[in-house]
Subunit: 213 residues, 2 copies
């Protein structure tokens, strides 16, 4: 199998990059105007360079320009709290995963690759409709029907938690200091936003991150 | 219903724009680096202005940069002949409709719209996997699952031919001289590429187009 990885530079997709490095022919990071995009991309670039994996950054500037979400530079403040909280809904970028998967499908077909890999996991579909398994399944069917080569969508972490991913990453030698999560996008992880709370829980016991709080 | 129309500026989607103008709150044209994009967009802008419909042009420059297709400025010559011919396959832009639909889904959710309209028709799915009804159905299910408001995908012309669309357009007063089809993107329609052959057949008897041949 030759796959394209949708690669944010965060904890989950970096572990996937390491675990499947022999199958991943191309890693793709999307620059869609989020507050933490620049720091994520810097991590993605460094990890791909380390592993010798071809890497593209695809600009999706229209998201920052027209979409409404506090995750974006154009949006409001990032709320503190866990993902389960209703206020984290303001960080949803409408259909973001659908857009990234669609672009990935076109790129995979253009580069002659068989599959798209995605690091969505069992814990992140509560408030994001485009992370839920039923969305991924429906999208996978659309990608299969809409490409000549029947490109597959593979999400190996779909049924495990972020903690499981972190433990797996630790085992295979992922350097988590070269991953970035915080939605606020500052130099140091804030330690209080939903994604920092999740990161702390996942990396507990072996967390190299300096948090502000 | 308040809908977003995926609007190329061609014959089919211009007819759809006219027919559903009261339901269409936003028309979106994608600039993806095709040879005929600039002329299509010029038509789209003019028709939206005439009808007073809000219009956005979304740049997808990465398609022109990385995707392989003779439809693109970055690709080879546009072949002459009908769509049924195998050589027209070179004009397929991998998963283009998937990408446009995905961006439209995110925009629809951001702008609080209920539906996406698409002018795919019964005649154009032979060589394009992402025009086939099974693709549209699968994608519609993914959009419904992946958006908070369950955005619908509606393709009113899915079971009629381009000729039927043209006849409908004539009836409701579409000015076909303000639509552009030719894949070669020159000032005059070439009259010989797949899309010109289709345009001629569809508009026969009331065609305002000056063809080169």
């Amino acid at each position: 199998m030759k796959a394209l990885l949708i690669y944010s530079g965060g904890l989950d997709s970096t572990t996937l990059l390491y675990e499947y490095m022999d199958s991943i022919a191309l890693a793709v990071t999307f620059d869609y105007g989020s507050k933490h995009n620049a720091r994520e991309i810097a991590c993605a670039v460094r990890n791909c360079k380390r592993l010798g994996i071809k890497h593209l950054v695809i600009p999706l500037g229209f998201i920052g320009q027209y979409f409404k979400s506090d995750l974006l530079i154009s949006g409001g403040e990032i709320p503190d709290g866990s993902y389960a909280d209703e206020n984290m809904k303001s960080t949803v970028v409408p259909f973001r995963n659908g857009i990234m998967l669609a672009v990935a499908a076109g790129l995979a077909e253009s580069f002659g690759l068989d599959a798209i890999m995605l690091a969505n996991h069992g814990g992140d579909h509560a408030i994001y409709p485009d992370c839920r398994p039923e969305f991924i399944d429906a999208f996978a069917a659309a990608v299969k029907a809409g490409t000549y080569n029947g490109v597959q969508v593979i999400s190996p972490y779909c049924n495990i938690t972020k903690r499981d991913i972190a433990l797996r990453g630790k085992e295979i030698g992922v350097d988590f200091s070269l991953t970035y999560s915080c939605y606020k996008g500052e130099k140091m992880h804030c330690g209080k936003c939903g994604t920092c709370v999740e990161r702390k829980e996942a990396l507990e016991g072996f967390d190299p991150t300096d948090y502000l709080a």
